[in-house]
Symmetry: C2
Subunit: 386 residues, 2 copies
């Protein structure tokens, strides 16, 4: 190994995970997560790279929009191409040409939403692949092993995502299982991972204040370097989600990063930031982009609509992203009509650029103490119409 590479790998392994809060606006926090693969400016939006690719985008584009970190899905990658194969090929970062931080989920959510013929036990869950029907097992230990084979910088404790709706008893049983799994996840992580990696605990408890509180208590007893909020954005609606955040966030450790999993719309994000959330991920910008829906500062538009067929203006004139500046809505409308690859390519790019621009404006607003004004602006464009 060349001396230079050896040096940089040592430097990589020797940068421990840390989090600093640099400014506050109400409960909102402006911060920086330091990892061995780079700094993550928070509040951060993580584009979703499910199968080792942010769909229809080049990694350089994802970075150029301002993304400091992306998310990979343990469930998808364990099934195809296999985490052992990715490890032999040098890890997920190298495999997908993304040298910056990667966060992986635990696989728990996708097992429940995608796989077939599941069997749950206290030990874990056995299931059949939705791709080829092959049998697999996920336990806290196996989930961490996979996340370590992938080489994820930020990993998630293995959990059961409590469905909505759930009775108090159901939510309690589910949360308590996740908390036992959190203990085992941390043990497995400490055995295998390095100081440059971090394991987050996932708060469950459904929509019940006492259960969310008990979950936070159990996790802080283990002492994670970061905490995720799971079990939201699963059908409860924005109003209920914000209500749960209202009673959950005050119980959360202040000095650790807080990640709201799977959220959300631009307004969801601003509202959650104002309640103290630091990290987000969501498939919405890329999935919507593939279907012709584009995010703008005036709201969402559908480029398939015939009203755009001769519109010479860009999706959003205020963006500096080439996906906005170099192409007209008329052209994008044409590309969707003609089912051209460039259609999802350009609008996924434009939407990730919009989301990163939103995060950049959120961070600037926290610093300036003007987050309320930004929330009003986003609300005017994205609040549900009466």
């Amino acid at each position: 190994m060349p001396a230079g590479l050896m040096f940089s790998m040592n430097a990589l392994m020797n940068t421990p995970f840390s989090f600093d809060i640099n400014a506050r606006d109400g409960d909102a926090r402006l911060g920086e997560i330091t990892t061995s693969r780079g700094v993550i400016r928070t509040p951060a939006f993580m584009p979703v790279g499910t199968a080792a690719t942010v769909k229809a985008m080049y990694p350089e584009q994802v970075r150029a929009t301002g993304a400091d970190i992306i998310l990979g899905n343990t469930y998808h990658l364990m099934l195809r191409p296999g985490s052992d194969r990715i490890e032999r090929l040098g890890g997920l970062h190298k495999f997908m040409n993304w040298p910056r931080p990667i966060l992986t989920d635990s696989g728990g959510f996708q097992v429940m939403s995608l796989s077939k013929l599941r069997k749950m036990s206290d030990n874990g869950v056995t299931f059949q692949s939705h791709i080829d029907g092959s049998k697999h097992e996920l336990t806290p230990e196996r989930s961490i092993e996979i996340q370590c084979e992938l080489g994820a910088d930020i990993q998630m404790s293995f959990d059961e995502c409590t469905p909505f709706p759930a009775t108090h008893t159901e939510a309690r049983t589910s949360m308590e299982l996740s908390m036992r799994w959190a203990v085992r996840s941390m043990k497995a992580f400490e055995k295998r991972a390095g100081d440059h990696q971090a394991l987050f605990g996932i708060v469950q408890g459904g929509v019940y204040e006492d259960l969310r509180g008990a979950s936070i208590k159990a996790l802080t007893d283990i002492d994670f370097p970061g905490y995720s909020i799971g079990g939201l954005a699963v059908g409860e609606g924005q109003e209920m989600m914000l209500k749960v955040l209202d009673f959950t966030m005050p119980k959360m450790p202040v000095e650790k990063p807080r990640y709201l999993m799977g959220v959300g719309t631009p307004l969801d994000i601003v509202e959650a930031v104002s309640r103290g959330i630091d990290m987000f991920d969501c498939v919405m910008p890329t999935r919507s982009g593939r279907h012709g829906q584009a995010f703008t500062w005036q709201g969402k538009i559908n480029l398939r609509n015939a009203s755009f067929n001769e519109d010479p203006d860009p999706i959003d004139a205020s963006s500096s992203c080439p996906a906005h500046t170099d192409y007209s809505k008329a052209y994008l409308h044409h590309l969707f009509k003609a089912r051209e690859y460039l259609a999802p390519m350009l609008v996924s790019w434009a939407n990730i650029a919009f989301y990163q621009d939103l995060m950049s404006q959120i961070r600037a607003a926290i610093k300036a103490g003007t987050l309320d004004e930004l929330r009003d602006k986003v609300s005017a464009a994205y609040a549900p119409k009466e």
Copy 2:
């Protein structure tokens, strides 16, 4: 209009079309076509942008591979989004964000291969759109009108592509019709187009030497600034195609660019260059790329093949294109298995980069007088296996 823009547009309109030959190696020519939108280094390969996009590629990528010019399809664009609409939106260059030269075909070939319920007459052809069944007419005058609305730098005379096989009588009747249409195409072009644009005549005549000769005679009487060879690569096979070139090329005007339409494989291209062809277009690199077939200097490979599932090497290690240098065959294999957009994106890019690298090596070999050696190298990788 700002003074600067006015100036640059005047400069644009005032650069007349021209062609210079700077070196020869046997019958092969190294040259430059000068147009108002930039210089085209010949021999040139033109990526195909059928529906106002080179499929699955950004225009900046197409340019970065070394492409000086791309091709647009009159038939597709007249049907969707319509050449009148493209004209109102500022022309095809602006519409698709490609500021460099564009060549358009006449629409004749696609009308015959794609449309339904055609009716031919000496005046032209009426047909139904393959997209929505709407009725349209193409005549020499209408084809030129469309190409001018698109704003093409190099346009094609309206022709009938003689099918293969065709009897001598069929090929003669068809060729003579195309020659009458060539006269009308030039008249229409002179009425409407500017000095910065050029109209090429298309040589027809099937596989018959006397007919190819008569076609060239008819076209040179009109005196076009460039000549295309039509009616090849339509099923006659490489051996027959080269035989037709062998007797056709010596009859072609020497000082004008020669364009072999719809060709071809890497070996087709080197063989045709050595017979005096200057320009090529083909869907092969992008179409193959979308299906997982990649061009390398050792031949074509199919990335879907399981043998690549853990191959850490790039498609072709000699390429400097990021599609080659930044991604392994194992990753590309995974992307095709997972049906990810990035699969066709990366391999279309890699293949266009290979084709442009081939053209670059061809141009260098003509200059160095080593085209025979390059032909041997390409033949070793791409000649049909016994």
